[in-house]
C-alpha cells in the first residue's frame, strides 16, 4: 500500500469560534486518526527522528505501540525519556526537530510525531492509568538535590533525577509551578489542567515542589550545600524583558510580553474584578516582534476583546521566528501583519502618560547579518503613525540576573547568561549546574528540557564520583 503523502489532519476549533474562547485550538487526534498516522511510520532501523529530538524519545518504538493499540505501553515508552509528553506534544516545534529528520518527510509530509505524542499522553490521562503506570522507585535515595525553578528545564531535570534514585526538591519563586508553561503559554495552546497533571506526575515520582522560594535570595546557594544537598540545578529561566529602545517605551499601556501574558495566564486578569489583578487591553493592540510569544500575546488580545491586533515586525514574513502553525493560526483569527515595519516612537497623552499611537518606519531587507537573516534597513522618510491603545514588546529578554548576582563566582557570558558545559550542564562552580534560558537566553521549551536532561546526567555522574559509587 503506498504511503499517504499527507499528515493526518488534526481537528481545530474554527477561527470564528475560537477567538471568543480560551479553549484549546487544536483538538487532538481521535483513535482512528492516530492509527492512520501511526501506519505512516516506516520503523526505520536507524531512526533519524530520535536524533532530532532533544530528549531522544524512542519515537519508532512508541509509534509501533500506538499501531498495536497499546497506548499505556506507548506512554511508558515516551516517559522513559520525557516526563512531560502532553506538554511537548503541544508546544514543541517538531517541524524543526524530529519531524525535520523523518525519512517520510523527504518526499511527502513527515509523520505527525508531535500529534501522536500528544494523542498518547492524552489517551493515558483519559484512561485514568497514569497512577498505575507510574514506576515504583526505591525508598532509599542516593543523595539530595535541589532544582531552582519549576519551568521546563527544572521539571525535566527533576524527573530524570528522581528516576535515577535521588531525593529531589524543586524551589519555585512564583506562587504556582510550571514557569513559562504557566505564566507564558496561554490556555488555548496548553490547557493548565494538562500542565497540572504532568507536574503531578513528578510528585508521584517523589519530587517535592516548594513554592515562594527564590533560590539566591530566600536561600543562598552555599546554604543549600550546608543543608546537605549534593548538587544544585539552576533553571531560573529568562528575566529582564527587552524593551523597544525608542522614546515612550515606559508609557502606561506599554507592556513586556511577559507582563502582559503573566497578567492574563498566571493572574487571570481577564476575570477582573472577580480576581484582583487588572489588565487593560484596549481596542487596538500592537505586538512588536514575531516569535511564538508575540503570537500568543496577539491571540490573547483578540480573545480579550481587542478589535484590531497588529504584529509589527521589522523583517519579512519569511524571517518570522514563530512556528508556521502559530502564524497561520494567528492570521486565521484576524491578526494583521505589519511587516518590514519597526517602531520609532511610542506616542502618549501628555497628561495621563498613556499610549495613544505608535510611530513606525518601513524597512527594506539588506545584506544578511550575523544571524544569517537579511538585515532590515529603514527607508528614509517612510515614517507613519498607527493609532494604538496598547503596545506589547515581544522582542526577547536577557537571562534572569538574580542568582548570578547572589553568587559572584558563577562565570557569566556576555549577555549575563550562566556559562555551562553544554554536554553536562556544569557551571564554573562545582556542584552547581544550569540549563534552559538562564544559560542560553530565550529559546524553546524543548531546548530547555534537553538541557535539564543533560544536566541530570551530569549531576548524577558528579555525585557518584564524589561518593565513590
Amino acid at each position: 500500500m503506498p504511503i499517504n503523502p499527507k499528515k493526518t489532519e488534526m481537528e481545530k476549533q474554527s477561527p470564528e469560534a475560537r477567538v471568543k474562547n480560551f479553549d484549546e485550538v487544536a483538538q487532538g487526534y481521535k483513535e482512528a486518526d492516530a492509527l492512520k498516522e501511526a501506519a505512516r511510520c516506516l520503523q526505520c532501523k536507524k531512526p533519524l527522528c530520535v536524533e532530532g529530538c532533544p530528549v531522544n524519545v524512542n519515537i519508532p518504538a512508541f509509534i509501533k505501540l500506538v499501531a498495536e493499540k497499546k497506548y499505556d505501553e506507548a506512554a511508558k515508552k515516551i516517559k522513559e525519556t520525557n516526563s512531560l509528553p502532553a506538554v511537548c506534544g503541544r508546544v514543541c516545534p517538531q517541524e524543526e526537530q524530529c519531524e525535520l529528520k523523518c525519512i517520510v518527510g523527504k518526499k511527502n509530509e513527515p509523520v505527525g510525531i508531535g500529534r501522536l505524542e500528544r494523542f498518547v499522553a492524552d489517551a493515558e490521562r483519559l484512561s485514568g492509568n497514569i497512577e498505575k503506570n507510574t514506576v515504583k522507585l526505591p525508598g532509599k535515595k542516593i543523595a539530595k538535590v535541589v532544582i531552582a525553578g519549576s519551568g521546563p528545564a527544572g521539571l525535566t531535570c527533576a524527573g530524570d533525577l528522581a528516576m535515577l534514585g535521588y531525593d529531589v526538591t524543586i524551589y519555585e519563586s512564583l506562587h504556582a509551578t510550571g514557569g513559562v508553561l504557566r505564566y507564558g503559554i496561554p490556555q488555548f495552546r496548553l490547557p493548565k489542567e494538562i500542565l497540572d497533571i504532568e507536574i503531578d506526575y513528578l510528585r508521584k515520582l517523589g519530587v517535592k515542589i516548594i513554592a515562594n522560594v527564590l533560590v539566591g535570595k530566600t536561600i543562598p546557594i552555599p546554604e543549600l550545600f550546608k543543608q546537605g544537598f549534593s548538587a544544585v540545578f539552576i533553571g531560573a529561566g529568562a528575566g529582564l524583558p527587552s524593551f523597544l529602545g525608542v522614546p515612550g517605551e515606559n508609557l502606561a499601556g506599554v507592556y513586556s510580553a511577559n507582563e502582559y501574558l503573566t497578567r492574563i495566564n498566571l493572574m487571570h486578569a481577564y476575570k477582573f474584578p472577580e480576581t484582583d489583578t487588572p489588565v487593560r487591553i484596549g481596542s487596538r493592540v500592537a505586538v512588536v516582534g514575531a516569535g511564538n510569544v508575540a503570537m500568543d500575546a496577539a491571540r490573547c488580545s483578540l480573545r480579550l476583546g481587542a478589535k484590531e491586533v497588529y504584529i509589527v515586525y521589522r523583517r519579512s514574513e519569511e524571517e518570522m521566528p514563530a512556528r508556521k502553525e502559530e502564524i497561520e493560526n494567528a492570521k486565521d483569527e484576524g491578526v494583521k501583519l505589519h511587516l518590514l515595519t519597526a517602531p520609532v516612537e511610542v506616542l502618549g497623552d501628555e497628561k495621563t502618560g498613556r499610549v495613544t499611537a505608535m510611530k513606525v518606519i518601513k524597512n527594506q531587507l539588506g545584506e544578511p547579518d550575523a544571524s544569517g537573516r537579511r538585515r532590515p534597513v529603514p527607508i528614509p522618510g517612510s515614517e507613519y503613525i498607527i493609532e494604538m491603545d496598547t503596545v506589547v514588546s515581544a522582542i526577547g529578554q536577557s537571562p534572569n540576573p538574580l542568582i548570578p548576582q547572589s553568587m559572584p563566582e558563577l562565570k557569566l557570558g556576555r549577555h549575563g547568561n550562566i556559562i555551562t558545559n553544554e554536554e553536562n550542564g556544569e557551571t564554573s562552580v562545582p556542584g552547581v549546574y544550569a540549563g534552559g534560558d538562564i544559560a542560553t537566553g530565550a529559546a524553546t521549551v524543548i531546548a530547555a528540557m534537553g538541557a535539564g536532561k543533560k544536566a541530570a546526567k551530569g549531576m548524577d555522574a558528579y555525585i557518584r564520583s564524589r561518593m565513590n559509587l
Binding site: 519563586s173 513554592a211 527564590l214 530566600t218 529582564l240 503573566t262 487571570h268 477582573f272 480576581t275 484582583d276
Partner: protein, 279 residues
C-alpha cells in the same frame, strides 16, 4: 505557613503584622521587601520589610490601607495565614561610606525608614530623622525612632504635632546649617521623594529614594516596575528599590503608578459594598 503572630493598628490607616517566615527572616536586609498574596485569585503586592526577628523566625510588615488587597489584609487577625509570601527581594540599601545622614520619611514610609535608621545608628553613624504626616493621628513609631536617632524632627501639614509644614522645610534648614551632611535617604509618597530630591540636588548631597512601582512577579521577569533612572530603563525589583533620587524620572513613575487607577478604585468600591466594617 506565613501565620500572622501579631497584628496591631499603628494609626487609623497604617497597620502592622508580624508574620512567620523563618527563611525570609534569616536572610532579609534593610531596604528589602516581600511580595504577598492573600488568597487564590488575589494580586501580588510588594511591601517593605519593616523589621525581622531571626530567633522568632518572623518578619514585620507595616502597610497603609489604600486599596482592596490592603483593606482585606487589614481585616486579617492574629492566627490567620497569608496564602503566599516571597522574599527578601530587591537590593539592600547601600549607604556606602556616608557618615552624617538625614533620613526623611512621610506616611507609611516612616515604617520603612525605621530599619535603616536603626542599622545606621548601630553602625555608629550620625543619623538625623525627619518624619511627617498630614496630622497627628497619622504619625507613629516616634518613640522607636527617637531611640536610634541623633536628632529627631516631626512635621504635620496641619500643625497638630511637631512643626506645621513639610519635611522638606526642616531638611532645607539642616542642609543650610550643616555642610557635613553627606547622604539623604527619603522614603514616602512619590511627590515627597521628588521634592526632597530636587532640594538636595541644589546642595549636591547624594540622595537615595525607595521607589514603590507596580510589581507583578517582582523577580525581574515582567518589567512592570521599570523606572527611568538617568535616562536608562531600570527595574524596581532587581535594580532597586533604592535609587539615586537625582536621576529618577518621578513624573514618569507617577504616571505608571496611575496606570490602573480606575480598576483599583472599582475593585475597592466593590469590596467595600461586600464588607460592612470597611465602609
Amino acid at each position: 505557613m506565613y501565620r500572622i503572630l501579631k497584628r496591631k493598628d499603628v494609626s487609623p490607616t497604617v497597620k502592622l503584622i508580624e508574620v512567620e517566615a523563618p527563611l525570609i527572616a534569616a536572610s532579609a536586609k534593610s531596604g528589602q521587601f516581600v511580595v504577598l498574596r492573600l488568597k487564590e485569585g488575589g494580586e501580588r503586592i510588594p511591601l517593605t520589610i519593616a523589621d525581622k526577628d531571626k530567633n522568632r523566625g518572623t518578619v514585620t510588615i507595616v502597610f497603609q490601607v489604600v486599596g482592596k488587597t490592603t483593606m482585606e489584609l487589614a481585616a486579617f487577625k492574629e492566627g490567620d495565614e497569608l496564602k503566599d509570601l516571597l522574599g527578601p527581594l530587591g537590593k539592600a540599601t547601600d549607604f556606602a561610606a556616608a557618615k552624617n545622614i538625614v533620613c526623611v520619611a512621610g506616611g507609611v514610609g516612616i515604617a520603612e525608614i525605621y530599619p535603616e535608621v536603626k542599622e545606621l545608628h548601630e553602625e555608629g553613624k550620625k543619623v538625623t530623622t525627619i518624619i511627617g504626616a498630614r496630622n497627628k493621628a497619622l504619625l507613629f513609631f516616634e518613640e522607636e525612632l527617637i531611640k536610634v536617632s541623633s536628632a529627631f524632627y516631626v512635621t504635620t501639614d496641619d500643625g497638630t504635632a511637631g512643626r506645621k509644614g513639610f519635611v522638606s522645610e526642616v531638611l532645607k534648614e539642616l542642609l543650610e546649617k550643616d555642610k557635613t551632611i553627606d547622604l539623604v535617604v527619603a522614603v514616602g509618597p512619590v511627590i515627597m521623594m521628588k521634592v526632597v530630591s530636587e532640594l538636595t540636588k541644589n546642595y549636591q548631597v547624594r540622595t537615595l529614594v525607595s521607589l514603590n512601582p507596580i510589581m507583578l512577579d517582582a523577580t525581574g521577569m515582567c518589567g512592570a516596575c521599570r523606572v527611568t533612572v538617568g535616562g536608562k530603563t531600570l527595574f524596581g525589583c532587581v535594580d532597586g528599590p533604592s535609587f539615586d533620587g537625582h536621576q529618577v524620572d518621578f513624573n514618569g513613575l507617577m504616571k505608571r503608578l496611575n496606570q490602573f487607577k480606575d480598576e483599583e478604585k472599582n475593585s475597592a468600591e466593590i469590596y467595600k459594598l461586600k464588607c460592612p466594617e470597611c465602609r
